[in-house]
């Protein structure tokens, strides 16, 4: 039996359009308002692909591997929660740590969390439900930590609960797979003010963000993957972007930083 490794399709970063945080917000809006592609649909794709990248990063098999999924309260966190379900379905031992109390999460994320609770997956809120020592022990012994704390809507240096959870991920010194971009990295400038995750691999969604390639971006991003969340090329025309058939050879592409 051969194991098919999907993220084998490779691309050079040059020539792939990049989208700023504001453009990505517009992409999300167009997807939902003009094309009827809802946030849950995109979240599902993101979560499923992220689980696949984690499998790939762990050498091809998830059975019995321990994964701590660190999630924020936005839709990036929701992608992490969807990934937690896929990872568990595929045999990983999953533990989910939320940065903030559950009711502070976006509506779509709360839906994902409800599913995880029905699956009896271990979910807790950092600081309130688990001691710092216990959290450090869980993350420090995990095979991989998934970082789905903040996405492209960073909006300034991480603060409070979010900064604390990023701190735990940084201190754990385990291989990290980040969703969309390493939490704390500015999506536009690639700069870090405050604290940011340094990932072994990052799976960015739809199109890469400029910050992954500039300033401190490359050092924090690690191996870069680009994942398809099912948005039609015509959607990007509204923003003056021509993406072509970017995912013609695979839905998860390995992107090489141009030297």
């Amino acid at each position: 039996m051969t194991i098919t490794v999907e993220p084998r399709s490779q691309l050079g970063a040059r020539g792939i359009p990049r989208v700023t945080a504001a453009q990505m917000a517009e992409v999300d809006r167009l997807a939902s308002d003009e094309y009827g592609i809802g946030i849950l649909q995109m979240m599902e794709q993101a979560g499923s692909h992220l689980a696949e990248v984690v499998r790939h990063e762990l050498g091809g098999d998830l059975v019995g591997r321990s994964v701590v999924v660190a999630v924020g309260s936005g839709n990036n966190g929701g992608g992490g929660l969807a990934a937690a379900r896929h990872l568990s379905n595929r045999g990983a031992e999953v533990r989910v740590v939320l940065a903030r109390p559950a009711m502070r999460s976006s509506e779509a994320s709360r839906g994902q969390l409800a599913t995880l609770l029905a699956m009896a997956i271990d979910c807790c809120v950092a600081t309130y439900d688990v001691s710092d020592d216990e959290l450090a022990a869980a993350m420090g012994t995990a095979d991989t930590v998934v970082d789905a704390i903040v996405g492209y809507d960073l909006g300034g240096p991480p603060r409070d609960d979010v900064a604390r959870l990023i701190g735990h991920v940084v201190d754990a010194r385990r291989p990290v797979v980040s969703l969309d971009l390493p939490s704390g990295l500015d999506p536009d400038s690639g700069m870090v003010s405050g604290i940011a995750v340094t990932a072994a691999a990052t799976m960015t969604l739809a199109l890469p963000k400029p910050g992954l390639f500039t300033a401190e971006g490359p050092r924090h991003t690690g191996r870069l993957y680009l994942a398809d969340i099912g948005l039609p090329p015509s959607l990007y025309h509204g923003l003056g972007l021509d993406v072509g058939s970017l995912f013609a050879t695979g839905r998860i592409m390995r992107v090489h930083q141009d030297r």
Partner: protein
């Protein structure tokens, strides 16, 4: 409620009650009347305030301290749902337009004071003091406003609003104080700044020009100086000009 302690004195009870927004605008006499028909509980850290086994349709007002609302997961662990502080109304809130959280527990995470009212008591209070009804309407309006603001934040903001936000954000992260204001120490072309806020270079140049003429900013050699952060914040918040 696990243990209900009557407060040591009626005045303490009255003093605390006057802070509850529900009772805003009522006279001391009215509040004294209310004081006789509600229960105040002093809770120590970790003390349980709410449980799914409580009698239905009671509301609890957090008067002092912070309260953690949680549920028990299938493996018996706690999952924190929310943290509430002073002024929050908890419990079975159908009277206040909100459903009861299923299977929710609540405990004090600081020393807390909780005021408990049954629906019957609340109805009687509203009949006697219609101002409480008005305060409930104000409370519901604030909740609706907050929900609308959230919706608005999710929608796309105007270009001037987005630019104001981005400049304030850049100022916070890369700004240095100078005599003229906060200098953003990042050299950005208009094209780069336009892309950051998802607009065209032409629109950005026009908006920057407006900001400059209004005395909000200065621009020189690809750098921006924020001259009036307060008014810029007003625009970022969506105030009209």
């Amino acid at each position: 409620m696990t243990s209900t302690l009557r407060p040591s004195s009626l005045s303490e009870k009255l003093g605390l009650l006057s802070e509850v927004a529900l009772f805003a605008g009522l006279s001391e006499e009215d509040i004294a009347d209310i004081g006789h028909s509600t229960t105040m509980t002093h809770c120590t850290r970790g003390q349980q305030i709410l449980s799914p086994d409580d009698p239905p349709e009671r509301i609890h007002i957090v008067k002092k301290g912070r309260v953690r609302v949680y549920r028990i997961t299938s493996d018996g662990k706690q999952l924190t749902l929310d943290i509430h502080d002073k002024g929050t109304i908890l419990g079975d809130m159908q009277l206040l337009g909100q459903d009861r959280l299923p299977e929710a527990y609540a405990e004090a995470i600081d020393d807390a004071v909780i005021c408990t009212i049954t629906p019957g008591e609340l109805r009687r209070l509203i009949e006697r003091h219609p101002l409480i009804g008005v305060n409930i309407i104000a409370h519901l309006t604030r909740r609706l406003d907050a929900a609308e603001r959230e919706l608005e934040a999710m929608a796309y903001h105007r270009v001037d609003q987005r630019l104001a936000r981005k400049l304030l954000d850049l100022g916070q992260r890369f700004g240095v104080k100078t005599e003229r204001g906060t200098l953003i120490q990042a050299r950005l072309t208009q094209q780069e700044l336009a892309e950051m806020i998802g607009t065209t270079r032409e629109t950005l140049a026009h908006t920057l020009g407006d900001f400059r003429r209004s005395g909000l900013i200065d621009t020189e050699r690809h750098q921006v100086v924020i001259r009036d952060a307060e008014r810029l914040s007003g625009i970022a918040e969506g105030d009209e000009d």
